[in-house]
Each structure stands twice: as structure tokens, then as C-alpha cells.
Symmetry: C2
Subunit: 421 residues, 2 copies
């Protein structure tokens, strides 16, 4: 017999899990929609060439390739690179498809387009605990708005989503790629080196300031630059004053352009106005991995968990690659698979749910008539033939979210509905 497991690194969802996931997704969808985000959908596959155009970073290497149809023996024999046999691939993120979608449909969309996408992506990663080869992403993106209004809308909407999920108290670490660039400039790192230097700084939380310095020396950066950066990092103290221009300037060397600081301050003021307080914190060493970020970058953390609940940033250059014309864009992705295990949302859509346990000899027509009456009455109804082990059946129903039950014999007109558990 063939194995009956799902493919490696992928998951089946049983009823209780699936229902919980759908409740969380529905709530996220509803809240983002309230904040003016319009849901769109793209196919799960994109052209192979598009997925491997260099914007997907390391994820490109993890793409599942989909084979051309009808490959002949001759074609196969003439092929030396297996990738040439693929014309499609499964998307590894929702940003590449969104950029393609926007370039294709721009004329049919609002001038400032706020998109929400709630959909699975696939990455052929080495399966490990908490990391899957198919997982859900929830992305929001705003195209066509270069102002701080865009970041402020993303951040306030997301904090509202987290509140609705019972994850109040989240905070936002924020930085700007241009500030990072200016910082490296101040310390004398040459421009061509900086992308590599950022990859090292991104490890600061893991390897500490001396680890960063060691790695940079090994990479061949100038000793004077590395020493200056190490001293700056080591001397850094978490800000205690509120988020604002003073805080940001105090945490950066002199010479950071005003416009960057003003953009960040504008975000903070707007989030604060929307929520009566902005849980923002400037972090001059926040990098975030993706190579396509060009401006603001941010991450959301929650005191209950050690990992980030999501993050995003500006990627003003990417749409231009598809459209031939630059469009400002900023996006945020909620870590759905991390969040879904943290939250409990009561299933209040159908507060009445009844397991109807019937004797074997009740005619099917009688059963269905009773069921129809209860369903018409607004209940969710499961029929169960009375088993030897009634408790087992009732326990299963309770774990599937049922709240009451009734027993039924042939010819019985009235049901007595009793609470489960």
C-alpha cells in the first residue's frame, strides 16, 4: 500500500484546526477590509522566468518548478539544464505576483491601491519544526503613495488586526534603509560593499557587536570603518524617550538627511493620532533581509513571544521592473502561521449546534426532517447513529465545537436538547 501522508513538509488540516484557521483568516480579512484594503487573488503559478528574475532573493532558489507539458524524448535528450524543462513555478511569496498584477491591471485600480492578499506560498525548504513547504501569507501593500500616510495606514491597520485577535500590546521597530546607508557612509564603508555589510548587521541579535565586527573584518572591510561601527553599536542604548525626531537624531550619527527623519516622524505622529499612542521604536540596526527594500522597514513584536509577528517595508523600485515606470510601494506581511497558534477565537457564528444521536431503526426520512427543522432554526447539526460508546461520540463532537445533543428513537416527535460536556 502507498503511504498516505501528505508530501514532505506539507500539512493536512483536520476539522478543528481548519475551522480555527478560517476564523482567524476571516477576522484578518474583515479588519483589513475595514481599513480600506481590497482583496485580490492571483494564480498560484507564475511564469518560471518571472519567479527567477532576481527580485525574490534567496527564495528564488526554493521555488518549486512546474514542468512543461508533453516533453518528448528528443527534447529531454537535448536538454542539459533541468530548469529548461520548467515553464511555470509555484509562487514563493505574494510580492512578486502582486507587482506583476499591478503592472497588468493598473488602469483598472484606484490611483492609490491598497491590496490585501491572503493565500498560500510554497518553498522547498528543509522541513523543520514550525517551518513548512506550504504556508499561508497575509500581505497588505499600498501602491502609488510615497508619503508617510502609506506606512501609517499599514501599521495602524495591522495593530488593529492584532487587537482584534487578542494580541494587544504589540510594538513596532522601525528604521529606514536610507538611514542604514547613510550610517555606513558616515563610517566609510564604500557603496559597493554595503549590501554585504547589511547582511552581517542583520545578524546582530544573534552574534552581538563583536561578532558583527569579526565577520566584517573577515569580509575584508577596512579596520577603521569596522572599529567605528563596532564602537557605535556597543555604545547604543535603547531609547527611553518617546518616538520622535529627538529620539531618532540621538540614535544616529550626525549627517543623516532630514527628509528620512521627517518621514519616520510623520509615520509616528499619524499612528499616534489613529490609535491614541504609537508603540514605535526607532532601531538603527534593523535591516530585514529582502534586497528590494529601498526606504522604511519595520517589524512587529509582541511581549508574549520572542519572534517577530511580521514585517515589511518600502520597495519603490520593484514595480518599475515590470511596468517600466517607478511606482512607490510599501508592504507588510503578517506571520500568519506564527499568529494562528497564539490566538483563540470563539466560534460564535453558530452558537447553536446539536448532535442528533438516533437509534438504528429511525427511518431516514424522519431523521432528515428533524435535521432540516433544526438547520432552518439556525443550528449546525450532525447526525450520529447511536453507537455502543455514546461518550466517545459526544466527546468527539464537543472537540469539533458542538455544544448540545439530543437522542432520538423512531416515531419521536419532540427532541429534548441537552448541553454537551
Amino acid at each position: 500500500m502507498v503511504a498516505v501522508n501528505p508530501p514532505r513538509g506539507m500539512r493536512d488540516f483536520l476539522p478543528a484546526d481548519k475551522a480555527r484557521r478560517e476564523r482567524v483568516l476571516a477576522l484578518i480579512r474583515e479588519r483589513y477590509r475595514a481599513h480600506g484594503f481590497d482583496e485580490i487573488e492571483t494564480p498560484v503559478m507564475e511564469d518560471h522566468a518571472r519567479l527567477h528574475a532576481g527580485v525574490g532573493g534567496d527564495n528564488e532558489k526554493l521555488a518549486f518548478n512546474v514542468m512543461k507539458r508533453g516533453i518528448s524524448a528528443e527534447t529531454l535528450a537535448a536538454t542539459t539544464d533541468a530548469a529548461d524543462l520548467a515553464d511555470l513555478g509555484l509562487r514563493y511569496d505574494l510580492t512578486v505576483p502582486l507587482s506583476r498584477f499591478y503592472a497588468s491591471h493598473r488602469g483598472e485600480l484606484s490611483g492609490v491601491f491598497r491590496a490585501v492578499q491572503i493565500a498560500p506560498v510554497w518553498r522547498a525548504e528543509r522541513p523543520q519544526k514550525g517551518r513548512y513547504r506550504q504556508f499561508m501569507q497575509c500581505d497588505i501593500d499600498i501602491m502609488g503613495d510615497a508619503s508617510s500616510r502609506a506606512e501609517a495606514e499599514l501599521i495602524s491597520a495591522t495593530l488593529d488586526v492584532l487587537d482584534a485577535l487578542g494580541l494587544s500590546g504589540a510594538s513596532v521597530r522601525i528604521n529606514d534603509r536610507r538611514a542604514l546607508d547613510a550610517l555606513l557612509d558616515v563610517f566609510g564603508f564604500p557603496e559597493a560593499d554595503r549590501p554585504g555589510v547589511l547582511i552581517t548587521i542583520d545578524k546582530l541579535d544573534k552574534i552581538g557587536p563583536s561578532g558583527v565586527a569579526a565577520e566584517l573584518r573577515e569580509r575584508g572591510s577596512a579596520a577603521s570603518s569596522v572599529d567605528a561601527l563596532e564602537a557605535f553599536i556597543a555604545g547604543f542604548e535603547k531609547p527611553t524617550d518617546p518616538f520622535g525626531a529627538a529620539q531618532i537624531r540621538a540614535l544616529l550619527p550626525a549627517g543623516i538627511p532630514d527628509e528620512i527623519v521627517e518621514h519616520l516622524v510623520g509615520i509616528g505622529e499619524a499612528v499616534s493620532a489613529a490609535r491614541g499612542g504609537a508603540p514605535l521604536e526607532f532601531d538603527p540596526f534593523l535591516v530585514r533581509g529582502m534586497g528590494y527594500y529601498t526606504g522604511t522597514i519595520f517589524e512587529i513584536a509582541h511581549p508574549d513571544v520572542s519572534y517577530s509577528l511580521g514585517g515589511g517595508g518600502r520597495y519603490d523600485g520593484m514595480i518599475g521592473r515590470f511596468l517600466g515606470q517607478d511606482v512607490p510601494a510599501v508592504g507588510f506581511s503578517i506571520g500568519f502561521e506564527r499568529i494562528v497558534d497564539l490566538v483563540q477565537i470563539a466560534d460564535d457564528a453558530q452558537s447553536r449546534s446539536v448532535v442528533l444521536v438516533h437509534d438504528k431503526d429511525v427511518p431516514v426520512a424522519e431523521l432528515l426532517a428533524h435535521k432540516a427543522r433544526l438547520v432552518a432554526d439556525g443550528a449546525r447539526v450532525r447526525l450520529e447513529q447511536r453507537p455502543r460508546n455514546l461518550k466517545g461520540v459526544l466527546d468527539r463532537a464537543e472537540s469539533d465545537g458542538y455544544t448540545s445533543f439530543a437522542t432520538m428513537s423512531a416515531g419521536q416527535d419532540e427532541l429534548e436538547i441537552k448541553p454537551l460536556g
Copy 2:
């Protein structure tokens, strides 16, 4: 510049379309759930071997193959069949994955397990109008119930779904593969021939009784059998009496086993009890294509459209192929892509929706504060900077489902909300 269209035969969904699809899906999900169906989810990919095990019929040939990762030049050179380079594939239906799921998780599920699956499938068909390479399927299945209760639950739940979608008045054509088999037996078609004969009978609506007879003669069936079948089909008249044993027996030659008739009658009685009338019609020539059906088969039609809105049947043998133990199973699939274009469901989830058109000089913080107040008040809110063409922006918002708007200048405390359109 690279083309920005979705892959051939696949679709992007813009906001208005996506919202409508999600409303229809939510309603289908909610109604099936009320009828006791539990939603499950499987990965979009299954093992290549499983997708090509012979149960998928013609759909197996349409499967998209997913390549193994890291195929070396040596492996490629040694490969003579391209299919050997695939270890996974995209599912072409939801029945093969469900059977695999059930075999894997049976111990964690109810004894009688009612599943609903709402998910996309992929088939590399030649793209044509109304036929896509990625499309949604909505399947319900009942595993572990050999009685007519199972068919009755599927049919009543589905008629309820159609009512909720505004498609009342649907009717159900029903038959049984065993009745078809008995019919062919009566006319003397040898057992080994019957699968092929069924494929021809399946074309009756298109090619008529003489077309069926001609094709059967060409296939080499005995003239006496073909003549008898042709006479029987030609003499067939649509029943006018209500669905029941008398109707069924009148439409079949003598010698059809009682148990088949009783099963069908049981379904009719139960659907009638649930709904105060059963819109069932026995059709002795209904075949339905899939090779795996073993008993009841049925199709739902609606007077407004010429095509079927969905169909299903019993496939008692299939689970056994995965589990090594037969389990009765019956399923039904709604033709979602056909239905979604027929229905209009009002978007009443957020009856208050406001487009806030603001002057360019309104500070972002003021904007976000106004937006937050409206959102907290239960509205859906879109911000728009006042454009030269205000009407264009308001028209777009209206087509995206917004119902009201307000204009806003810097320092304005109170908003005057006016209806759109």
C-alpha cells in the same frame, strides 16, 4: 519588458470579483457547515505516484507535474521519461486527496465523516471560454455511511445551498451505476464491454439514440444488444408521475434488483421529508463520466441554465485502495465557477463604507485620526487625496462597493457624510 499577464488559462481576480467570489464561498461554507459538514484542507500537491494511480480517469493526463529539486546533469542525462523527473503534482480534483486524507486520519475523525472542501484544482486543459487551468471546487463527501441517509444529506444540503444563493427551483436527476449495469445485462452486453458502452451512452444528450446505436455498432457490440437498447431508449418517455418506486420500475426493464430501487426510493423520501418535496427525477441513462462510481449517481440542474450545476455519486471502492479496507463513500461537487457568475449576493457585511476625499495639505495625522474614528464606528474607509477628476474617483469607489463619501480640508473637525451615486 516581460509580459505581465497571468500564466495561460489562469486568472487574476480584481477587488470587485474577488469580493463577490469570497461572499459566495463564505455562504456555501456556512450552509454546508450548518448541515454538519466539517471543512478540511489538504496540500495543493500530492505525490506524483498517487495522482497517477488510475483513479483520476482522464484528469490524470491533465495533471501539472512538479519537478524534483536539485536534478543533476548526470540524472538528467540518464533520464528517458520526463515524468521520472517529477516527484509531486498539483491535484486535479479533491477526491483523490480526500481519499488519501481519510486513509491517513481515519482514527481522528467521526465514524461517519462529513467533509467539505473548498479549494482550487489545476488541469492543463486547452484554455477555452469558461474553462480554466486553475479553478475552484466545492466538494462535500460522506465517508462511512452506506445507507440512503448519506445521499439524502448531500442532496438536501446542496439544495439548501442553492436556495441560499438565490438558485431555488433546482432539480436532481438520479440513477445508479448498478441499475445501468443491470440494464446492459438485460440487453446482453457482456460485462467486459460495459465500461465502454457507458462512455457511449454518456453522449446520449449530444448524439441521440441513433447516434448511440451507431457508435456501439462501430465499437463492435452485438447487433441484437444494440437494437434492443436503441428501442428501449427511443421508447423512453420522461416520467410525469412523482418520484418513487412505481416511477423507477416503470422506466426500467424487468429484472432490476429490488435493493437498488429501494435505495433510490429511500433517498427521495428523505429529501422530501427534509424539504417538503423532493425535486428528484429518475434518469436511467444518466452515466456521469468518472470510472470510480459504484452506486448512486446524480446531477443537479436549474431551469435558468442549460448545463448541470454539479453532480456526484457513490465511490465505495476508492478508499479501500488507500486504506486496504473498503469504506462506503459518496460525494458531490458544486460547479462553483458556473454558479458564481449566476448569483448576486449583496455585500451587507459592512453596510457603512466611506470614501474620505481629503485636500493635499491635510496633515497625515489628522487624516488617520478621522479614519480611525470611522473604522472604530464600524465603517469600511478608503482615503483618497482630492484629484482633479473627483467623479472618476467616486465612480471607482462605488463600483468597489462603497456607499458614501465625505470631503475634508485641513483642520476640519466634523465630516459631512453623503451618499454616493
